[in-house]
Symmetry: C2
Subunit: 303 residues, 2 copies
């Protein structure tokens, strides 16, 4: 697999939690993004898996970082959560059983449960503290945590999928951190093959696939794994995501069985009974056509 490193180095004047900036230096691209803070660090927990911190920014609301990398902010997480969820669930004919791997902030879970057809949504995040901190600092993402259809497990997603029954899920959403540390295995071919087995025919796999601009080798690797696992159609949908490196992010969808990703339930999407901030049927349709520069790179690898 492609190896990325997300160096949590802070710029010198920002190493002290009393100073007014949070910076993430993204070493592979030689870029950094910074937010001015309105307070000292709000919270921090060192868990067996990672170091989670919460900050209050001047204009993006709360910010959660894990090992120095921004995971989400209050202001812009709607983009990611909506695009990780609705394109897949409006492509599936009738999504009933959904599995979320990672997703501890519960934002994807909230979006999944907006779909009336869903009868079970299991979220498996290895680190309970992500959810406990989200409940405190991002309560708006956790409003559906006590929905009777929801089950929150704190466990190893790789092992959970390995032991899940064949053909038991309609969609699996891999809402993971970057492919380093605890999430590394979620970008490996073995895990993707397990997901294929666990999906029913017509099932959708969704994987967060980083930036179309600066992570093309990673996207190729993700799609290579999906193809090897047996998925037929694949599509990388781009969307703006200000708080991540390059401000441009993607979700890669793959479908099991004889179904084209062009055919989504466009009428249902237009007539949806719930609010979205970014997702529309038109943006879904637009995102299905990969930009030519990305298409070219994928085509060169037969993807």
């Amino acid at each position: 697999m492609i190896s990325l490193s997300c160096e949590p180095t802070m710029l010198p004047e920002q190493r002290d939690t009393q100073t007014p900036w949070f910076s993430e230096v993204y070493e592979p691209a030689g870029t950094a993004q910074s937010w001015r803070l309105t307070a000292a660090r709000l919270d921090a927990r060192r868990t067996p898996y990672q170091h989670i911190e919460i900050f209050a920014t001047e204009s993006y609301g709360r910010l959660m970082s894990i090992d120095g990398c921004v995971m989400l902010t209050s202001r812009d997480n709607f983009l990611y959560h909506e695009m990780m969820t609705h394109p897949a669930l409006f492509t599936h004919g009738q999504p009933r059983d959904v599995v979320i791997i990672g997703g501890g902030d519960c934002g994807t879970l909230r979006e999944v449960l907006k779909h009336a057809s869903v009868r079970s949504a299991v979220q498996i995040d290895i680190d309970e503290q992500v959810t406990r901190l989200a409940e405190i600092y991002f309560p708006e993402l956790c409003v559906s945590n006590s929905d009777p259809r929801a089950r929150l497990l704190f466990d190893d997603g790789l092992a959970w999928i390995k032991h899940a029954p064949d053909a038991s899920a309609d969609s699996i959403i891999i809402d993971s951190t970057d492919p380093i540390g605890p999430a590394e295995g979620l970008f490996g071919p073995g895990f993707v093959s397990d997901c294929f087995r666990v999906l029913r025919s017509g099932g959708l796999l969704v994987q967060q696939s980083e930036s179309p601009l600066i992570h093309q080798p990673l996207i190729k690797g993700i799609r290579e794994n999906m193809r090897q696992a047996g998925f037929t159609d694949m599509r990388t949908l781009g969307f703006p995501q200000p708080c991540y490196p390059s401000g441009w992010w993607s979700a890669t969808l793959a479908v099991k069985g004889d179904h084209s990703l062009d055919a989504f339930r466009e009428q249902d999407s237009r007539a949806r009974s719930f609010e979205t901030k970014y997702y529309t049927a038109a943006c879904h349709r637009g995102a299905l056509t990969e930009p030519p520069f990305l298409r070219k790179v994928l085509q060169e690898s037969g993807l």
Copy 2:
């Protein structure tokens, strides 16, 4: 008009041009973006209008800044230039005469001249040095500068438009810097009214309208001006733009006369004879539907 300030303050260790980072601190949002450099500053010119600098970044190629604000990088300028040009020119029935206000890096001009129907493209940038530096450091953007249909003027765009004949242009593209300094007047109602007069019926105005996420008051102001000037349909098309604050940018289109912006030449766009890296008919169609969070804000102001 809305007042924005784009403080060119560099973080302390970056104030010396020998150090390896370029940072833009965007004061209104309390955010900053930084690029690691591979060399000392490549060039700098202090003109009567502004301070232009050229840097070599580690992974975004060359970077041009004006008064400390990033104008473009080699790697990601295709997004902006394509989205400032092709949606408007594929909406107009047969764009022949195009005016570019600003645009001194010549990237928009290059895109405009890809349209075979265009017989004249006049670019009016107040600062000749922007173009002279683009010719040296971004030669790929200047490949059409000697096209016989192109005319490069170095003049005040406000005055030029004021004296341009009525109904003499099919599209006017306002490819300006931020609404501070020399470009401030380009965001004022008087200039937009002049553009309306200079456009033929069916003509398209395009204005770079900053970030859908963090500049909603500015977008409202732009659209208010357009409506007051007499434009009928207006639409704010979003696109990723990593090098600008929030990484998400927009172009606002307005049409003169009885024409809906939904009706673009979709078949011509699909069958276009030239290459694009981001623009497709599908992304054009997708961008025409404004995201619900932006629609809501605009609707509250009757826009």
